[in-house]
């Protein structure tokens, strides 16, 4: 494939890549919760440092990680601007005609932007260092207690893994069809939004027809091999917790505890300001 998609698996040989995907998944969930508990700038910086350190250990170029942020840059800008103008507070900084900007607004805007970027960065690290198959295996394993209340965990995991598997196939197919139509003189790049949308019809119709054909063939092939979602299945790669997973868990828990301590007990920003006074 020609383009490296954002968040796509980035193969390097690193400890992070070899970690148990279940631990990674749990760490991500905890991380997302943690980001909402960030209070002080010092902690924001600490979490950024944390993410960058992991990126470094995972041997992923920072450029690749930053590319994932580019996709949400608009969202970040818009939410920040809205917060900047519509947050009211006590300390008025700018007043011009109907526009009023408060100190709280500025702070809100900055923190929200940082929060959104952090929310994008860490989960991207997960998909960059974990293959989709590992992810679904991890999900299946983590959700297995739900089997007790008759939730078809295996079927859900299967649907997910097929869906994930289909993404690159469909992308390749889209690419192929676009090339074929380009060879027939199609022009996807010029014209207004309407013209561009119309130009996509010759791509989308064959794509959908192909997707249904593939789904049909896959179902038939699985049937032919007596696939059953209730049969006991073995795995090619068995997930096992090792020392590095334990170390990673401890480090994550330590970092995240710090955030909660900061939220409820210690104010780092004030401490540092007090030091300088």
């Amino acid at each position: 494939m020609d383009k490296v998609v954002f968040g796509q698996y980035y193969p390097t040989d690193s400890v992070i890549h070899r970690m148990d995907p279940r631990i990674k998944l749990l760490a991500i969930i905890l991380y997302i919760v943690t980001v909402f508990f960030l209070v002080d700038y010092v902690m924001y910086a600490a979490i950024f440092l944390f993410v960058l350190t992991i990126t470094f250990i995972a041997k992923i170029p920072f450029k690749v990680l930053l590319r994932t942020v580019r996709t949400i840059i608009f969202l970040v800008l818009i939410t920040s601007i809205i917060n900047l103008f519509f947050t009211t507070g006590e300390e008025l900084w700018v007043e011009w005609k109907f526009i009023k900007i408060y100190r709280e607004g500025v702070e809100h805007a900055i923190k929200l932007a940082l929060r959104l970027i952090l929310l994008m960065l860490f989960p991207s690290l997960l998909t960059l260092t974990t293959t989709p198959m590992e992810l679904t295996d991890a999900l299946e394993s983590l959700m297995s207690p739900l089997k007790l209340i008759k939730i078809p965990v295996h079927a859900i995991a299967l649907i997910m893994s097929i869906a994930l598997r289909m993404i690159p196939i469909l992308m390749e197919e889209t690419n192929k069809i676009m090339l074929a139509q380009k060879a027939r003189g199609a022009d996807f790049d010029t014209g207004g939004a309407l013209k561009k949308a119309k130009a996509m019809i010759p791509v989308l119709v064959p794509l959908f027809v192909g997707a249904f054909r593939r789904a049909d063939e896959l179902a038939l092939a699985m049937d032919a091999r007596c696939y059953s979602s209730v049969a006991k299945r073995t795995k090619y790669k068995v997930m096992k917790l090792t020392v590095k997973d334990l170390v990673a868990s401890v480090v994550c828990l330590a970092v995240f505890s710090l955030v909660f301590l900061n939220k409820y007990l210690w104010g780092f920003d004030e401490m540092i300001l007090a030091l300088f006074k």
């Binding site: 494939m1 020609d2 383009k3 490296v4 980035y10 193969p11 390097t12 192929k176 069809i177 090339l179 074929a180 139509q181 380009k182 060879a183 027939r184 003189g185 199609a186 022009d187 019809i201 010759p202 791509v203 119709v205 064959p206 027809v209 192909g210």
Partner: protein, 283 residues
């Protein structure tokens, strides 16, 4: 000279761990009237190469000239290029999209910006050329046709652009022996009537030997050798290195040699083979 490729190299996803060299300093010249066969293992760069000829892939290094269109220019005339070089991709029937056969075939000519009348004439001609009955299929949905018919419609969609060079990527893939024969006969007919220069990629060595007068063997992103079919298919050392199969005729000749029968000639097509056997028997 219809196509002139010089020192063409191409790397997929350069600068990432996925980087892969697909073409490595490739040179090839194709003259008008040539029937060129491109052979090579999967992943040897064949498809990447032909996609360059239609500017479906942007030039990274080297140069390509198609008639007077120079692809090293910043903005080559793509419309004219795509009207000159017709490309039939692998499994072209999967690219059909419109409600009727007529509309689908007219997609290409429409993109060229031709007049309504001109388009109509070309579409009728193209559909008849590929061996379908225009009146019969024009209003039918391409999706209700049979596999072989669909492929014909897809080829008609390219022919309707009246390309002087026709490129087909594995035109016989997935067809039964009869369908293969029909498509090859069609390609031959198209070469005689509408597109004087034809380039095909094929894994079917018999088809290449029977039809092509020039063969380019790709291996590992390089062209190992260009020559007449007999120069390629009797070069044992080359074929072994490139892990290529040979046409049935060549296999038979080799078997005969093992049994002590030496023809003294190098036939590659069936008729050549029969002629040399006759000569051998008589003299």
């Amino acid at each position: 000279m219809s196509i002139e490729v010089k020192d063409l190299s191409y790397v997929y996803s350069p600068g990432t761990p996925y980087a892969a060299t697909a073409l490595d300093h490739v040179d090839l010249t194709v003259s008008e009237g040539d029937f060129v066969g491109i052979i090579g293992k999967t992943g040897s760069g064949k498809s990447t190469f032909i996609q360059h000829l239609n500017a479906l892939i942007r030039l990274q290094s080297g140069s390509i000239k198609v008639y007077d269109i120079d692809l090293t220019e910043k903005k080559p005339d793509l419309k004219r290029l795509r009207g000159t070089v017709g490309m039939v991709m692998q499994y072209p029937e999967y690219q059909l999209f419109d409600e009727t056969v007529e509309k689908d075939v007219s997609y290409g000519p429409k993109n060229l910006g031709l007049s309504e009348e001109e388009i109509k004439g070309r579409v009728r001609e193209a559909i008849n050329l590929v061996g379908l009955d225009y009146e019969d299929v024009r209003d039918r949905s391409p999706f209700e046709l049979s596999g072989g018919q669909k492929r014909r419609v897809a080829i008609a969609g390219v022919i309707a652009m009246r390309p002087r060079i026709l490129i087909l990527d594995e035109p016989t893939a997935g067809l039964d022996p009869r369908g293969k024969k029909e498509i090859l006969a069609l390609v031959k007919r198209l070469k005689e009537t509408s597109s004087p220069t034809v380039i095909i990629i094929s894994h079917d060595m018999d088809a290449v030997a029977e039809n092509c007068d020039k063969v380019a063997l790709f291996s590992g992103g390089k062209i190992e050798k260009v020559g007449a079919p007999r120069e390629i298919f009797y070069d044992d050392e080359l074929l072994l290195r490139a892990e290529m199969d040979v046409p049935t005729v060549v296999k038979i000749v080799k078997e005969m040699e093992k049994k002590g029968v030496t023809l003294g000639e190098k036939p590659v097509t069936r008729s050549e083979f029969l002629a040399s056997v006759k000569r051998w028997r008589n003299g």
